[in-house]
């Protein structure tokens, strides 16, 4: 994997418990080689995802965010991922306006049995984020350099 040879980036994955988290597990059990940039947050359902989780992740220094849930019509709670799809599609309009490249955020569906699909999603998303490099950071203390001294700067961004 060429992408893992360079510096690791910070990619956050928000995964639903029932399909994609299990799918990631399947990939792990199957020992499919994957890049290691992804940090997974497990949630009950993609419907639980507030799009602001994703915005906050970028604000806190994430270089990429991946959301994955059950395939449409397979949601454990029947319709959570249908709502999620609408919310995440809407979110896509916000990110580039605040300077987050659209390529840094994707959502997809991976079922519990799709270990191989999970592997390829992670690999290609990681590669995509690496192509963009690390997210430009806010310069600290733009308005009040006093407030956030380097030693105690909350959430270095």
């Amino acid at each position: 994997m060429s992408v893992t040879e360079g510096k690791e980036l910070r990619i956050i994955g928000f995964l639903c418990n029932w399909c994609s988290y299990a799918g990631a597990d399947t990939a792990g059990v199957g020992r499919f080689a994957q890049p290691t940039d992804l940090r997974i947050v497990r949630l009950p359902c993609t419907g639980r995802i507030n799009p602001l989780f994703i915005v906050r992740a970028f604000m806190n220094g994430a270089d990429g965010v991946l959301v994955s849930g059950c395939h449409p019509r397979d949601c454990h709670y029947s319709e959570g991922n249908f709502y999620a799809r609408r919310r995440l599609e809407t979110l896509k309009a916000l990110l580039p306006v605040i300077g987050v490249d659209p390529g840094r955020f994707e959502y997809t569906w991976v079922s519990a049995s799709e270990g191989q699909r999970w592997r390829s999603v992670v690999a290609s998303f990681t590669e995509q984020v690496h192509a963009l490099g690390s997210m430009p950071r806010f310069m600290s203390g733009t308005s009040l350099d006093l407030c956030l001294r380097p030693a105690v700067q909350p959430r270095v961004f």
Partner: protein, 358 residues
């Protein structure tokens, strides 16, 4: 100490002089940026804007929007994973500042802070050390706005309360006069030409602006009226009806000094910050139990007006916690007018008492 004589600085010399001062200290001045005139650190490419009252008050020079009070660090104790050590350090401000271009109302606002933050035995060292390190240069007004009313709250558009130096616009530039000893010592060190006859012109300019101020009844002497109206719920409901409970008035006010303290941390490190707070916000007095003594905006408005025109003057020799800059009026998204509220309160009390006497 004998004050130095008045000096003069021509318009074209002003910016180079200020930039010269900016070597070695922070110079804050009203600068045009993004369609607004704000007090910002002066740089070579800054567009100094001295046309009138700046959009923000200069209070951030002494009370920053957000200032760290102390920092803390937790660390694991070597060998004892369940124990952490904690280190806490205060963060004290230390920057020398030349605050240029405040108007007399803004400078007078600092005296409102002084009475609270530097009160004998109770000295807020964060405020006091900023105050000690800040030289305040005010500019006498020449062109009051429609919303200006310093003359109605005991102020003076050509006044110098709270300032160390007073600039007055005259033909071709400004005269500069020392107000405090500190201002005098500073002025003596500056290679500025003597004002000579321009000092007289400056006096006339200040006289002229006093005459040019919009007229209206004085707003002081209202402390008892406001208090007597305290239980008049209908009155406060009606004056607060259009209020949106935002913080524009408080945050632009040169005399509003209330603050909040919060801890913000990242992992094991953090800061305790002090930030501006706003008495019109629901959270301001919300207690842990869920009880809120100022639950509605009418109660909050009552406290806001009460604080400025009644409680503060009662505690501080009749001085109002309002200097009449009018920013709250000019910037209120719901066009509220603090002058009108005080006048209404007064006439409401008079009406009631007349009614009672009949």
């Amino acid at each position: 100490m004998v004050m130095p004589t008045a000096r003069y600085i021509a318009h074209d010399k002003l910016m180079p002089w200020l930039l010269g001062l900016a070597e070695g200290r922070r110079v804050l001045a009203p600068v045009r940026e993004g369609g607004k005139t704000l007090f910002l650190p002066l740089r070579e490419d800054s567009r100094l804007d001295l046309r009138g009252l700046a959009d923000d008050s200069a209070k951030a020079a002494l009370l920053p929007r957000c200032e760290p009070l102390l920092e803390f660090h937790y660390a694991k104790t070597a060998g004892v994973p369940s124990r952490t050590t904690l280190e806490v350090r205060e963060i004290l401000p230390g920057q020398e500042t030349f605050l240029f271009g405040v108007r007399p109302c803004d400078a007078r606002g600092f005296t409102v802070f002084d009475r609270v933050y530097d009160a004998g035995t109770r000295r807020d060292i964060y405020y006091c050390s900023r105050r000690d390190k800040t030289l305040v240069a005010a500019i006498a007004c020449a062109d009051p706005a429609e919303t200006c009313f310093c003359n109605r709250v005991g102020g003076d558009p050509g006044g110098s309360d709270g300032a160390d130096l007073l600039f007055t616009p005259v033909e071709g530039g400004f005269t500069v006069e020392a107000v405090t000893e500190r201002g005098g010592a500073f002025l003596r060190e500056q290679a500025l030409e003597e004002a000579d006859g321009k000092a007289e012109e400056a006096r006339e300019v200040r006289e002229a602006v006093r005459r040019a101020m919009p007229e209206g009844p004085s707003l002081d002497g209202a402390p008892d009226e406001v208090l007597r109206l305290f239980d008049d719920g209908a009155f406060w409901e009606s004056v607060a009806a259009k209020c949106l409970s935002c913080g524009v008035c408080s945050y632009l006010c040169p005399t509003c000094y209330c603050f909040n303290m919060t801890d913000e941390s990242n992992g094991n490190d953090g800061v305790r910050v002090r930030t501006w707070d706003n008495c019109m916000s629901f959270q301001f007095t919300l207690e842990g139990s869920g009880h809120n003594p100022r639950n509605g905006k009418a109660q909050r408005m009552r406290n806001r007006i009460g604080h400025k025109f009644s409680y503060y003057p009662k505690l501080h020799d009749g001085n109002l916690a309002c200097v009449g800059c009018g920013r709250c009026i000019a910037n209120c998204p719901a066009s509220m007018d603090v002058r009108a509220i005080v006048i209404q309160a007064r006439s409401r009390v008079l009406d009631k008492e007349e009614y009672a006497n009949e």
